[in-house]
């Protein structure tokens, strides 16, 4: 072997290894998804749930080799920023994630208010953004092209409730509505009032309580005086635990007591004990739903199993919706065959498929239209689905004392 041949061989080997290195780098591509969340402060219980949903998605995707787009494979990395339950900071965090951390995609901050505020940021940069916990239509009517949401409008919660309650109790007339003075709870209360009025019910009381209210005794006293057959209370878990306890303290009962959102969480049932019995509620997802999909989880059962194995508790709708946000992003990237934001955005808008979370199809505003949120009731300390009929686990009971 001449010296030239040795050098040539060495060069060839180097070139070859360089080429393999190159393809290895492509195989090790990373998709960064920014997730501003309230990991501390008053909203942290919700923020942590959302984080669990994103984490289980990312972990499952990476364990299966990553996301395939075109000829490349990408690992998923979620970049979290804690905005300490402070909405203005959520918007700054979203901006920072996009402009400095250079994330490819964004998951919205918690709730309708913050998702709406941060929606403007992703629009400005043209970054596809998925909101896992924003249901109010006011979030999606801003003409944003890059914002998509996994919760159907609030009326899809109140309409089936009104149908099944009045289906079983056609004579029921008197409804009292109590809501936390906050974007989602008041929007939901308005939808309930519409659903009630449409069916000729009398709204005998309609009040808002302030955020941070420590005592509801005056309100519950008025509630008692209005003698309702159906009490509809909106708020977050701590509000609703307290309202339920004070209803008991002051001897207020009704045929139907509906509380949203809270009873979907195991913590509500644990914290209310026997008082949780027969409380009705609705959520966008429930572990009892059964869907088969083409996503990384495959079926609802499989998602439930993986979730329980990782966190030791049953998933609720917030965690499932957050995982679904990841699943939607993944399906869209795979369909687009690229991570280019504008193309992924179009692929999300064009999705028409089924996942563990349910059927996925977005309306013109970017809000999902395909879900049918289940209605459930706490019976024997367990949330039992009473609607839709396909997944019904129990009949609705009346009477809350």
């Amino acid at each position: 072997m001449t010296i030239q041949k040795v050098i040539l061989a060495a060069l060839g080997a180097a070139a070859l290894s360089f080429a393999t290195m190159g393809s290895a780098a492509a195989a090790d591509g990373v998709i960064k998804v920014g997730a501003p969340l309230p990991l501390t402060g008053p909203l942290s219980p919700e923020g942590l749930k959302q984080k669990q949903g994103y984490d289980i998605w990312a972990e499952t995707v990476n364990a299966k080799g990553g996301i395939k787009a075109g000829g490349d494979t990408y690992k998923v990395e979620i970049v979290y920023v804690d905005y300490a339950s402070n909405t203005p900071k959520a918007v700054q965090s979203a901006d920072r994630l996009i402009s400095q951390d250079k994330v490819n995609f964004l998951f919205s901050p918690f709730g309708s208010g913050a998702a709406k505020a941060a929606g403007g940021v992703s629009e400005k940069y043209g970054i596809p953004t998925i909101a896992a916990t924003a249901s109010s239509e006011a979030v999606y009517n801003q003409g944003y092209k890059y914002l998509f949401g996994t919760f159907t409008p609030n009326r899809t919660l109140t309409e089936p409730l009104a149908d099944i309650v009045l289906g079983k109790k056609p004579g029921l007339k008197r409804v009292a509505i109590l809501s936390r003075n906050d974007l989602f709870p008041t929007a939901l209360a308005k939808e309930m009032a519409k659903s009630a009025e449409k069916r000729g019910l009398d709204i005998v009381m309609s009040e808002k309580y302030a955020i941070g209210t420590m005592d509801h005794s005056s309100t519950v006293t008025q509630l008692k005086a209005s003698n309702p057959e159906w009490v509809f209370a909106t708020g977050y878990i701590n509000d609703l635990i307290l309202i339920r306890k004070q209803m008991k303290d002051l001897g207020v009962g009704a045929e139907v007591v509906t509380m949203i959102a809270g009873p979907a969480y195991q913590e509500f049932i644990d914290a209310s004990g026997p008082l949780a019995e027969n409380i009705t509620s609705s959520a966008w997802w429930h572990p009892a739903v059964r869907y088969k999909g083409d996503d990384v989880f495959g079926t609802t059962e499989n998602f439930n199993k993986l979730f329980e194995a990782k966190y030791g508790a049953a998933a609720d709708y917030v965690q499932a919706s957050a995982a679904a946000a990841g699943v939607i992003l993944q399906l869209a990237i795979e369909a687009a065959g690229t991570v280019e934001p504008a193309k992924v955005r179009d692929a999300i808008a064009a999705l028409d498929t089924t996942t563990f979370y349910g059927p996925i199809k977005f309306g013109d505003t970017g809000q999902i239209t395909s879900l049918e949120p289940p209605t459930f009731q706490i019976q024997g300390s367990k949330p039992m689905v009473v609607y839709p009929d396909g997944i019904k686990q129990a009949d609705i009971n009346f009477g809350v004392k």
């Binding site: 501390t40 402060g41 008053p42 942290s44 219980p45 942590l48 003075n181 009040e207 808002k208 309580y209 302030a210 941070g212 209210t213 420590m214 005592d215 509801h216 005794s217 005056s218 309100t219 006293t221 008025q222 005086a225 878990i237 701590n238 635990i241 307290l242 306890k245 004070q246 008991k248 303290d249 002051l250 001897g251 913590e267 644990d270 914290a271 209310s272 004990g273 026997p274």
Partner: protein
């Protein structure tokens, strides 16, 4: 009749407010320290009651001295070890220090206990009393009665014991008290500890009424502020009067203006008081 019920609600709530605020008021009045740790100490008391009940089956009312004692030890040590170093500095310094300590402490509780709202559910709920159309939840009444008893004991302690007189002496004139042979540093720590005891005890009593979470600490702290300003600083009867006043105001405010404005009303009143009568209903001039 509904007015009577609203009044009863307000009194029961006011009793709880007094119980929340009395320790805060003592520390502020005597040490001139705005103890931002106070809310977290109440929450700690609630968790002690929760764990004592779920693990050992001890009734929360019986946990009061235990929780009070634990929080006393903790706050005594904090005062002796850390806060005493800056006690003579302007109030902003101690405010910042307790703010920092509270951040550390509250986040430690978030890590240890999680932010989830929990609730102490008694095996045999105490139920409600009902007579002539007025319904009173027994747990609130019992908690209020116990809180009043503790407050009365604190009042007697300040009036009759040597330590109590020393605390009052330090409140009136720190330098003169020191010249009279009072160990001011020790009295500071004891006062801070007593404030902690009252917070821990209040947490126990509240554990059967309110959901429990580290996130509640700011709510308790906010109420303590209002009660102190309404009632007057550093005076035990002031905390009771301020608490009851706030309870009744919020109760009727929620009834007449709607529950969304009850808190607004309370804070508007706070501002009016700060302008018109900064010493509060029962506060004396010269102590602030």
């Amino acid at each position: 009749m509904i007015y009577l019920q609203i009044l009863a609600n307000g009194l029961a709530l006011g009793g709880l407010y007094a119980c929340i605020a009395v320790g805060f008021s003592l520390v502020w009045g005597v040490l001139n320290v705005i103890n931002l740790l106070h809310g977290s100490m109440i929450v700690l008391g609630s968790y002690i009651a929760l764990f004592a009940y779920t693990t050992f089956g001890i009734h929360p009312f019986l946990t009061v001295p235990i929780a009070g004692g634990i929080v006393f030890a903790l706050t005594y040590a904090l005062q002796r070890g850390i806060i005493n170093r800056v006690i003579a500095a302007p109030v902003l310094m101690t405010l910042t220090l307790t703010f920092g300590l509270d951040l550390i402490f509250n986040n430690a509780m978030l890590t240890a206990f999680k932010a989830d709202y929990r609730k102490l559910i008694l095996e045999n709920p105490l139920g409600s009393w009902s007579f002539s159309g007025v319904t009173l939840p027994v747990d609130r009444i019992a908690a209020m009665a116990l809180a009043m008893l503790l407050t009365l004991m604190l009042f007697r302690l300040l009036k009759d014991s040597r330590i109590g007189r020393a605390i009052v002496a330090v409140r009136m004139d720190r330098d003169a008290a020191a010249l009279m042979g009072v160990d001011v540093m020790k009295i500071n720590a004891i006062t801070f500890g007593i404030g902690g005891f009252m917070a821990g005890a209040a947490g126990c009593l509240l554990s059967i009424i309110f959901p429990i979470s580290p996130l509640n600490s700011t709510v308790y702290l906010g109420k303590s502020f209002v009660v102190c300003v309404l009632g007057g600083l550093g005076s035990v009867p002031g905390a009771i009067v301020g608490g009851l006043a706030l309870g009744i105001i919020e109760s009727f405010g929620a009834f007449f203006l709607g529950p969304e404005h009850a808190v607004t009303l309370a804070f508007s009143l706070l501002i009016v008081f700060l302008i018109v009568r900064p010493t509060g209903l029962l506060g004396k001039k010269g102590y602030e």
